[in-house]
């Protein structure tokens, strides 16, 4: 079994899995859980893409 993922796909999968795990472990009512998952996913992606762009000038 061999998978091939782009950088963005790998980051999306990683962020989604960790956000859902954190949401389920740290919050109980379903609505709180959902809000936490969405917020955590948003921050993962924002920070990940932000760091990516911050490193862009160093790549050349």
């Amino acid at each position: 079994m061999t998978l091939q993922l782009s950088h963005l796909q790998a980051m999306l999968l990683f962020a989604l899995a960790i956000s859902v795990a954190f949401g389920f472990l740290s919050r109980r009512p379903a609505m709180d859980r959902l809000k936490y998952i969405v917020w955590s996913l948003f921050l993962f992606l924002l920070i990940g893409i932000g760091i990516g762009w911050a490193m862009y000038p160093l790549s050349r």
């Binding site: 079994m1 061999t2 998978l3 091939q4 993922l5 950088h7 790998a10 999968l13 990683f14 899995a17 960790i18 859902v20 795990a21 389920f24 472990l25 109980r28």
Partner: protein
């Protein structure tokens, strides 16, 4: 004059502590089992599926699965992280029939996915242990 606050420690219940330890251990061996035995079905299913998904993706990307004879401190830490996935460590080993390939970015990402699966499962097992002790909802 000083105000003294007396804090009384909860009575130590060794039976409860043993049960909590066993539940934590169960959660480590099979992701989600520690929660399932406490009837926390949502958390149990989530832990199982997420750790399984991370291991499948990590092995699919041909990440490096560390072994006990790693050689240096980083390899030993990697081994501890990978081992956190419990029985899924063996699943990852069985899936990686062609061995790891970290010569490109995919393999490197795979290594991270496998390590995170282990660390996440350790966190879930710790959560199950704390829940069994009545310290988490």
């Amino acid at each position: 004059m000083t105000d003294e606050i007396q804090v009384t420690a909860p009575p130590h219940d060794s039976k409860l502590e043993t049960r909590a330890l066993l539940l934590g251990l169960a959660g480590w061996i099979l992701p989600g089992l520690g929660h399932a035995l406490q009837k926390m079905w949502g958390r149990a299913v989530a832990c199982f599926l997420i750790v399984a998904a991370l291991v499948l993706i990590g092995a699919g990307l041909r990440g490096n699965l560390f072994t006990a004879d790693g050689g240096d401190a980083f390899a030993s830490l990697g081994y501890l992280a990978d081992l956190g996935a419990g029985s899924f460590y063996m699943v990852a080993r069985a899936l990686e029939t062609r061995g790891p390939d970290v010569s490109h970015a995919d393999g490197d990402y795979g290594t991270r996915f496998l390590a995170v699966a282990g660390v996440l499962n350790l966190l879930a097992a710790l959560h199950a242990y704390e829940a069994a002790r009545g310290r988490k909802a």
